[in-house]
Symmetry: C2
Subunit: 182 residues, 2 copies
């Protein structure tokens, strides 16, 4: 799915500037399954306007920088809803962390242990933030996706906490490294 369609989806829930869409993609609920940089978002918004799927309004307010607020048009809404009917493409995950873990045998045990801990901490932080969301204001689909994320993160964190120590222990046995004092 290209950034253009994703922007259309964001605009379907309300007007926004390119900056706000970026934040939505990296911090908001979209953050867990989509991301894009300015280098993709600004050209995408420009093209949406060219194609008549969105419109721009330049807003000059004293006390803040000039903004360009984008709005979806009826044609844009129709295009977006049509897109929802199509077969979604396969997920694409790129995880350096898992890649590194795959080669855990080639890593120093202490570093491995640290990476595992960092990962669990990261999951716990995200989980806390996600569970803090006010579930009352969410639509059905939004809540469904949020809770799916919670279920997945919880499972991953639990697995790493349960199985990580034995991976580290095996690594120490192999290299003969004593446990580091921390």
């Amino acid at each position: 799915m290209d950034v253009r369609t994703a922007c259309l989806g964001a605009l379907s829930r309300g007007d926004a500037t390119g900056y706000e869409i970026k934040k939505l993609f990296e911090e908001g609920p979209f953050g867990h399954f989509f991301s894009a940089g300015y280098g993709s978002i600004y050209p995408a918004l420009a093209r949406l306007c060219e194609e008549g799927l969105a419109t721009v309004a330049t807003i000059e307010e004293p006390g803040r920088p000039v903004r360009k607020s984008y709005s979806i048009t009826p044609a844009g809404r129709a295009a977006f809803e049509k897109m929802l009917l199509e077969q979604p493409a396969d997920d694409r995950l790129k995880s350096e962390w898992i890649f590194v873990a795959y080669f855990a045998d080639s890593m120093p045990p202490d570093l491995l242990e640290r990476r595992l801990r960092e990962r669990v901490d990261w999951y716990r932080e995200r989980l806390e933030a996600m569970e803090g969301c006010n579930q009352e204001t969410l639509r059905d689909g939004e809540r469904f996706v949020l809770d799916l994320g919670v279920a997945v993160y919880r499972a991953a964190a639990r697995y790493i906490e349960e199985q990580g120590p034995s991976l580290v222990a095996a690594s120490r046995r192999r290299t003969g490294t004593p446990e580091a004092a921390e």
Copy 2:
């Protein structure tokens, strides 16, 4: 992580052609957390050779197409192991399926139901394939990553199976669509 490093990782486990590396990325154990097309792999392998991190051997056997087998060099192995020490970048997931599910409220209930079923089926298939792997031949890190994938997929499939029906039911109530006979 760029494709170059990923190729180095693949080569660290044995010689391979570009074609074989592609298959590794899309079917093999790497498939769940990394992917790359020929347009990235072939240039990456060429550059690895330029930089002295890999070497090529052209193999001409009768009865099969000419192949180029790539091997990692000691310098390549050193570069790869150095890379394993660095802080891994954040995961990057792009999921059209989750994106569409987020907008479930704008979808026809029957289609939503089909998408949910397709997704669960997809997870079940992957799980069967993953659990069929001979766990005896895997290294610690490889098994760890495989089982992490199993834990995550299982959690996702279970969540969708448990929570999906009520999402569909709410959608039907909202649109007044009767249940489709299948």
